[in-house]
């Protein structure tokens, strides 16, 4: 297993380097340093200020290899924009935000907890609600209950999350006045602000989730072991919950474990509409304010999380299916 993990990690290296290269090209080749400096220096910067900003950010250095002699006459070929960018990301020496004048790592520390307070309950509740409903619908397969449920699922899937947010916020917070429209609390009082976004997050994923899990369950209930178990006298619920559910775990795990690392990245729309000061909000504000250090750090972290999620998923297969072996 360790051998497999090491191999997967080594295979991830080219992906990570690729991400670093793409972010470098996006933020260095397609936007000139002067344009970035002017944006960050406000309405009317002087040319001398722009020059000083570009120099202070090392953006006056050659793109890939620095063959110019330094002040002491020595040549440092890797003291270039590309290699400095690579070192920043690969060694986790994240820069300071151009817009907020804070270290990106400090911003991440502030934002992770609010994001988790919304994504973790939504994630757990979503599994807790979706799986039993899917099992129940699978139980009634072929009946009009099943068909009605599928129709509802398709309708729920067809509605974009923004509509859930806007309509949900309007109905539950504005018309019926059950929840605060907007806000957050960093203490215990946060629960009040999290209820509505969590409910809407679960509701928005319900249609797709139920339909997917139902399909997975149905694939399993036709298997031979189900017939065997039934023949042995195992109760219907026993077959469903003990055998079918366990065997359906591989595709379920693929979806759920892969999404675990992304709990950290938060939900962009929910955070924006409900004022949760998390990672999604940070990303959105960084994009709006052209804060490139924050954007490139977040892109890099997201790619690392994706790779971690994919490795975690593979490892989790062995836990639920002994037939899966690492080779």
């Amino acid at each position: 297993m360790i051998h497999y993990i090491v191999r997967r990690l080594l295979l991830a290296v080219p992906t990570v380097l690729g991400v670093c290269l793409v972010t470098f090209l996006l933020f260095n080749v397609f936007a000139s340093p002067e344009a970035v400096a002017r944006k960050q220096l406000g309405k009317n910067p002087t040319p001398a200020q722009v020059k000083a900003w570009v120099t202070a950010h090392g953006m006056d250095k050659p793109m890939f290899f620095n063959l110019n002699p330094g002040k002491d006459g020595s040549i440092r070929p890797f003291d270039s924009r590309f290699w400095n960018h690579m070192a920043e990301l690969l060694l986790f020496r994240f820069p300071e935000s151009d817009y907020l004048h804070e270290k990106v790592i400090d911003l991440l520390k502030q934002k992770i907890v609010p994001s988790l307070t919304i994504t973790v309950p939504a994630f757990l509740l979503s599994i807790l609600v979706t799986l039993p409903i899917a099992l129940l619908i699978a139980y009634y397969r072929g009946t009009y209950i099943d068909r009605l449920a599928l129709l509802i699922c398709v309708i729920l899937m067809s509605i974009v999350i923004l509509n859930y947010i806007i309509v949900g916020q309007y109905l539950l917070a504005v018309v019926f006045k059950y929840f605060p429209i907007y806000g957050y609390d960093f203490g215990v009082g946060a629960w009040k602000f999290l209820l509505l976004p969590v409910i809407l997050a679960v509701a928005s994923g319900l249609g797709g989730g139920v339909r997917f899990y139902r399909t997975v369950m149905l694939n399993e209930v036709r298997a031979d072991y189900v017939r065997t178990a039934m023949a042995k006298g195992v109760s219907e619920e026993g077959v469903l919950f003990k055998h079918v559910l366990k065997n359906a775990m591989i595709p379920i795990l693929t979806v759920t474990v892969l999404s675990i690392p992304f709990l950290i990245t938060g939900s962009l729309l929910l955070e924006m509409y409900f004022g949760i000061p998390g990672m999604g909000n940070l990303m959105l504000n960084a994009i709006n304010s052209h804060d490139y250090p924050v954007i490139r750090t977040l892109v890099y972290i997201y790619s690392l999380l994706y790779i971690a999620g994919s490795i975690l998923t593979d490892i989790s297969y062995t836990l639920v299916d002994p037939r899966v072996v690492f080779e």
Binding site: E102, P180, I181
Partner: protein
């Protein structure tokens, strides 16, 4: 109805274990029962109040559209940062709260500055010339103290001196500070450019170096020498950029293990920072060391009648705390305002017709709630700029005038701004010295017949090039890929296409747009300018030749007479003579038509009845100290407007049960079998 297992068993359903089904039923019933109880009892009691329970403090609740980027006055270029900063930091001067047109009055300064113009012999190329300089002498009040803060010995704020002002101005010229306000003093204060250049060359600013134009005569007296007469400099001294900051705080909070000075304001304002959670909330509290300052007893016409002078002579500030909630989307601001959780709000574009009547008055349903509407003119101008370096547009005045005549500002105003904007005829907005309300721009009459005549005069009859016989094609640049920007661009281009011109849209990312603007590779695009200070110079500089890109004269307009008049006007006091010069400059701008003057956009502000003394300002300032509130009125409004609807929850649960009915019936039928 059969389960999958019964189907697998040949449809008889004989293997269904009824006892275990009963067990599941009991569990399901229990869970359902608990869920219903939770919904019925817990959810409505959660309440929609986004704030903790109220205390006895007088609190003002307001919204900010985005997180302030910084609380360092040297770095604040955005209006959001300035709105917050101005409550913490006072400058030597401030805008009079109620007076219109805007007027600066002393704040930390003990009166207006003494100023004199003197002449210096300087070597200019191969000859000696006399150059006019301007000297300002500012006197500080002797009762100004910095807010108490751990950066001071014993945590007690010390008295503000002239050296603090000098230190703050030097910070603007320190490249490491990355100040967004350096342009206000660069080239203006004698010797400040040398200070900047030395710091840029060495990589570190030496604050012990003296700047020739900045001198502390004593603790309370500051002398500033300008390289040329510039009466508008007093406005610079009213901006947060020049507010005194204590060197102790900068060094203390910028130490490696601390969060930075930009997060820890230490000023002289009426409020001090209590807490700041990024992208969430800023809470400021009354500063105990704030000087004695009183509510103004004079104001603009109509202020007394509208109750804005009721608190005249009372000590400031009124509120104990001000809560700024950061809300990046417009809809929640509006909804929270209606629920009484925000004291004031703008009017969202999509709600405009519901809120404001055709006579531009507040509609009855809002008047009944005790809400009031204020329409205030902002100091801004929105325009479409022609690139005067462009070989087609730059050299053809008639073509530019024809394009201006084809543009339908009134329709633009109706479609995109709910008809609330003011048609702009020149570069100056109402409220600025030199603005002429009677001014009529002959190129702003939306006269297509005249525009077509001018097209023929320009060499493009019917939009065809008279020399080549080909249709004239122009490129219209936009710097955003948003739907709104595309919609506006489509409207703009349609106006010009009426002249037979073929318009091509160039959609740029922001950086591409900036690049094209600075290199001058565009033909036309739309822009806006919001005043930094209420002086006409701030607007007229946008057409001053030497300010061509990358400076703010985006259209690279250059007219010798205009430039000469600008240099003259810049150093003049607000006299009839200056006004005449300004009028002539505006005439030149209208005649040469480097812009299509589009609109000035006033702001519409709604306030609840408990929000007293509110008055809109186009220029950022320390205005929170004037605002008062009536917490009893607010409490009553909130109570009336925020009763949860329990009946709706009952119906929702009933609907859920109805939807579950087929499954329950199915269970019952199967059990009977």
């Amino acid at each position: 109805m059969k389960s999958i297992f019964s189907q697998l068993q040949g449809g008889k359903g004989g293997l269904v274990n009824l006892s275990s089904m009963n067990f599941v039923d009991r569990k399901v019933k229990k869970i359902l029962g608990l869920a219903v109880l939770f919904l019925m009892a817990f959810v409505p009691s959660c309440g929609n109040n986004p704030y903790p329970p109220e205390s006895n403090k007088l609190i003002g609740y307001t919204a900010l559209g985005e997180d302030p980027r910084t609380l360092d006055p040297a770095q604040s270029s955005d209006t959001t940062s300035a709105e917050i900063l101005c409550q913490f930091y006072d400058s030597l001067y401030q805008n009079a709260y109620l007076d219109r047109p805007y007027r600066v009055i002393p704040s930390l300064a003990a009166g207006y500055p003494e100023k004199r113009i003197f002449y210096e012999d300087i070597q200019e190329k191969d000859r000696r010339v006399k150059k006019a300089r301007m000297e300002y002498v500012f006197k500080l009040r002797n009762d100004i103290y910095f807010q108490d803060d751990p950066c001071f010995p014993g945590g007690k704020g010390r008295r503000v001196t002239a050296n603090d002002v000098i230190y703050s101005i030097k910070r603007l010229a320190d490249p490491a500070v990355r100040s967004t306000g350096y342009w206000l003093v660069a080239g203006k204060i004698k010797g400040i450019n040398d200070f900047f250049n030395k710091a840029a060359a060495t990589g570190k600013a030496d604050y012990s170096l003296e700047i020739e134009g900045l001198k502390a005569i004593d603790d309370r007296t500051l002398k500033i020498i300008l390289t040329e007469p510039f009466p508008a400099f007093i406005y610079v001294m009213s901006m947060p950029y020049t507010a005194p900051v204590p060197r102790e705080a900068v060094e203390y909070y910028n130490a490696p293990d601390r969060e930075g000075f930009s997060r820890h304001p230490v000023g002289t304002g009426a409020y001090r920072l209590k807490s700041w959670k990024r992208q969430h909330r800023i809470i400021m509290e009354r500063s105990p060391s704030f000087r004695k300052e009183y509510y103004p007893s004079t104001g603009a016409p109509g202020d007394r009648e509208s109750g804005l002078l009721d608190d005249a002579g009372k000590q400031l500030p009124f509120l104990d705390e001000v809560w700024y909630t950061i809300i990046s989307t417009g809809q929640p601001i509006w909804l929270l305002f209606l629920q009484g959780y925000l004291d004031a709000s703008g009017v969202p574009q999509e709600q405009f017709d519901r809120v404001v009547t055709k006579n531009m008055e507040l509609s009855n349903q809002f008047v009944k709630k005790g809400i009031s509407l204020e329409i205030a003119s902002d100091l801004d101008i929105y325009y479409l700029a022609f690139n005067m370096r462009d070989p087609i547009l730059g050299k053809n005045k008639y073509l530019r005038q024809a394009l201006s005549l084809s543009y339908d500002t009134d329709l633009y105003n109706q479609i995109f701004l709910n008809g609330r904007a003011i048609n702009a005829h020149g570069p100056l907005p109402p409220g600025v010295f030199g603005y002429d309300p009677k001014l009529k721009n002959p190129s702003k009459t939306h006269d297509l017949v005249k525009a077509k005549e001018l097209m023929a005069k320009a060499g493009y009859p019917g939009g065809m090039d008279a020399k080549t016989g080909r249709q004239l094609e122009l490129v219209y640049d936009i710097g955003s890929e948003s739907t709104r920007a595309r919609e506006v661009a489509t409207f703009d281009m349609r106006c010009f296409e009426q002249l037979g011109i073929k318009m091509k849209l160039q959609v740029n990312t922001w950086s591409q747009h900036l690049e094209r603007s600075h290199k001058g590779t565009f033909q036309m695009f739309s822009l806006g300018w919001i005043a930094d200070y209420p002086d006409p110079e701030n607007f007229l500089q946008l057409l001053y030749g030497p300010n061509a890109p990358p400076n703010p004269n985006s259209s690279a307009f250059a007219n010798p007479e205009y430039d000469r008049l600008y240099e003259k006007m810049k150093s003049m006091e607000n006299t009839p003579e200056r006004e005449a010069v300004i009028h002539r400059m505006v005439e030149i701008a209208i005649e040469e038509c480097p812009w299509i003057f589009n609109v000035h956009s006033p702001s519409y502000v709604l306030r609840h009845s408990w929000n007293k003394n509110g008055k809109s300002h186009s220029i950022s300032g320390n205005y929170r100290k004037y605002v008062r509130c009536d917490p009893e009125m607010r409490r009553a409004y909130r109570k009336a407007e925020n009763k949860p609807n329990r009946a709706a929850l009952f119906y929702a649960v009933a609907l859920l049960l109805v939807l579950s009915a087929p499954a329950i019936v199915n269970k019952y039928v199967r059990r009977r079998k």
